[in-house]
């Protein structure tokens, strides 16, 4: 089998439209749309049971959609599986290795299934798997098992990798090392789709974040855009007690709110951008007020996530 020609670099590498996947009467995915840009890192965020894994596994060809269309590298993951499989790398949430196999043995085996694999020894060193020695898979630590699964996903030099919770159960060092590898993949032109529970991971790594819940896409965009949009930010400062906040609000955009929380401690909430900050400080200058302890609290991805998906615990 010859390697397939590289796909045209334009257009999304994953395109999901109206995907529905039911298990019995329950729809795990319920009309989901998703686009994944070529060469980008896309993080799929969502509470447990949101449909992340079902969506990813449909893209990998494991599940047949009940409705809607899924195209990966322009191919149908089920009908064109034979052509698609050599071009994608897959990291399952867990398992995937013979319990009696050694880490290097399994990785060398996966390499042999590909035409132009990575240098296995270099990859073993890169992911810190050299210390596994002759230990078989079932006796490896959770972190070592995770890193082996990651290595197996990239060893065939895929165009697109799907990583299902790649850093679950990793210690901080291994987590950072995984992040570094994901960045290197992107630099070298590999498209990455990952699911995660960690907001910092999505903020740190992703060019694009897709938040899904109850089997639907709630929002998608860069972490910056998601944190800016919708959610309110806060500006705090302290100054002379009893400032005329009505006068201040006249200078600020509609919808901004201001309050003196305790004597001389002020809070302004609204769309806090550089212009608003400049307006507040110049108003203070005009009124002979020296604001101190100025702080701006911007919303994190976690705030956005909780606002969209709700704060109550899920089953």
């Amino acid at each position: 089998m010859k390697s397939e020609p590289a796909p045209p670099p334009t257009g999304p590498v994953v395109q999901v439209r109206g995907l529905v996947k039911r298990y019995g009467s329950r729809a795990a995915v319920d009309g989901l749309d998703l686009d994944v840009r070529a060469g980008a890192v896309t993080a799929v965020l969502g509470p447990n049971g949101a449909g992340k894994t079902t969506t990813i596994e449909t893209c990998e060809g494991y599940r047949r959609p009940d409705d809607g269309t899924v195209r990966v590298l322009g191919l149908d993951p089920v009908a064109d599986a034979a052509r698609l499989r050599p071009r994608i790398g897959v990291m399952l949430q867990s398992g995937g290795v013979y319990s009696g196999a050694r880490a290097d043995e399994m990785l060398r085996h996966m390499a042999k299934l590909h035409a132009h694999p990575l240098d296995v020894d270099a990859l073993i060193e890169r992911l810190g798997l050299g210390g596994c020695g002759r230990t078989t898979y079932r006796r490896l630590s959770g972190g070592q098992q995770q890193r082996l699964a990651l290595a197996m996903a990239v060893v065939g030099r895929p165009e697109l990798v799907f990583l299902d919770e790649p850093t679950a159960g990793l210690d901080p060092q291994a987590r950072r090392s995984t992040w570094e590898l994901v960045r290197e993949l992107r630099t070298d032109g590999v498209s990455v789709v990952l699911t995660t529970h960690f907001m910092d991971e999505a903020e740190e790594l992703a060019d694009d974040v897709a938040i899904i819940d109850a089997g639907r896409l709630l929002t998608q965009g860069s972490p910056e855009a998601l944190c800016r949009g919708g959610a309110e930010n806060t500006l705090r400062f302290t100054g002379r007690p009893g400032l005329d906040l009505g006068s201040l609000l006249k200078a600020l955009p509609d919808g901004t709110e201001a309050a003196e929380l305790t004597t001389g401690a002020y809070r302004i909430t609204g769309d806090v951008d550089p212009q608003l900050l400049a307006t507040v400080t110049s108003w203070c200058a005009q009124h002979g007020v020296m604001p101190s302890g100025i702080s701006v609290e911007r919303h994190t991805l976690e705030d956005v996530f909780l606002e969209l998906t709700g704060k109550e615990l899920r089953a």
Partner: protein, 255 residues
């Protein structure tokens, strides 16, 4: 690793190379597993040596090794193709190995081909070992080697179908328990070390339809009695092969 290390260059390895690599890995996994070795090597060897040396079971007229060796060869085939393969595949399914390989460039039929080849390689090693031991114990085989080969291959196909059916439909723990239980029952009631003639007539005719009984009886007809081609036993094995592989193909679940 330097810049450009991960630059995409996808592609499947040539099919022959993938299947060869998969066969080598599957064989290593089989031979590395202690429980599997107990089943496929140690138990058949012990039974052959023990029952040849000590006349515990009445094996009829003639040397007991001439009666036992064909039965032990049948047992060896069953231990690898059925019991061993069912347990290994059941746990591979449970631990996502089959699932992960399904996303690799190796096609599913390529994986099943490799599994079959790994079973055959293991059986060759078993047959060589058991044959050497049997000769050392004074075994004098007769008959047509081609008929023996045909019986072993058809027996392997029949047991593989049944083993994969079990592994692909039951939970791994249930497969482990059931495969061992079936191994034990068929060891006793399948004409391996105890001649079927020891059972009542009615029971005998039912037991005679079991794949293990057909295989050991067919091998014994050829190797002990010098029969040409045991068509009846071959027919029974062929029916089991069609039923087993057909049901496995229909009901096997990869996850």
């Amino acid at each position: 690793m330097s810049a450009g290390t991960y630059a995409p260059r996808p592609g499947a390895a040539p099919l022959g190379r993938m299947i060869a690599a998969q066969t080598a890995l599957e064989t290593r996994m089989l031979l590395r597993n202690g429980e599997q070795l107990l089943l496929t090597v140690i138990i058949p060897t012990l039974l052959l040596v023990l029952f040849s040396a000590v006349d515990i079971v009445d094996t009829g007229s003639g040397e007991s090794v001439d009666f036992l060796t064909p039965g032990i060869l049948a047992l060896a085939v069953m231990s690898t193709a059925f019991t061993g393969q069912a347990i290994a595949t059941g746990f591979e399914r449970r631990y996502g190995v089959l699932k992960r390989l399904a996303a690799s460039p190796l096609p599913r039929w390529g994986l099943m081909t490799a599994k079959t080849l790994a079973v055959l390689v293991t059986e060759v090693l078993q047959v060589v070992l058991l044959t050497v031991i049997a000769f050392a114990l004074g075994w004098s085989p007769h008959g047509n080697p081609f008929a023996v080969l045909l019986l072993l291959v058809l027996g392997t196909a029949a047991f593989s179908g049944l083993g994969l059916l079990m592994a692909g439909t039951l939970k791994a723990e249930a497969t482990l328990a059931a495969a061992n239980l079936v191994f034990l029952l068929l060891l006793v009631g399948g004409g391996v070390i105890v001649p079927l003639e020891k059972f009542p007539d009615a029971v005998q005719s039912v037991l005679g339809l079991l794949p293990i009984a057909a295989l050991s009886d067919g091998l014994r007809d050829v190797l002990q009695n010098g029969a040409a081609m045991p068509w009846g036993d071959l027919g029974i094995l062929a029916v089991w092969t069609v039923l087993g592989l057909g049901a496995a193909a229909r009901f096997f679940r990869w996850e």
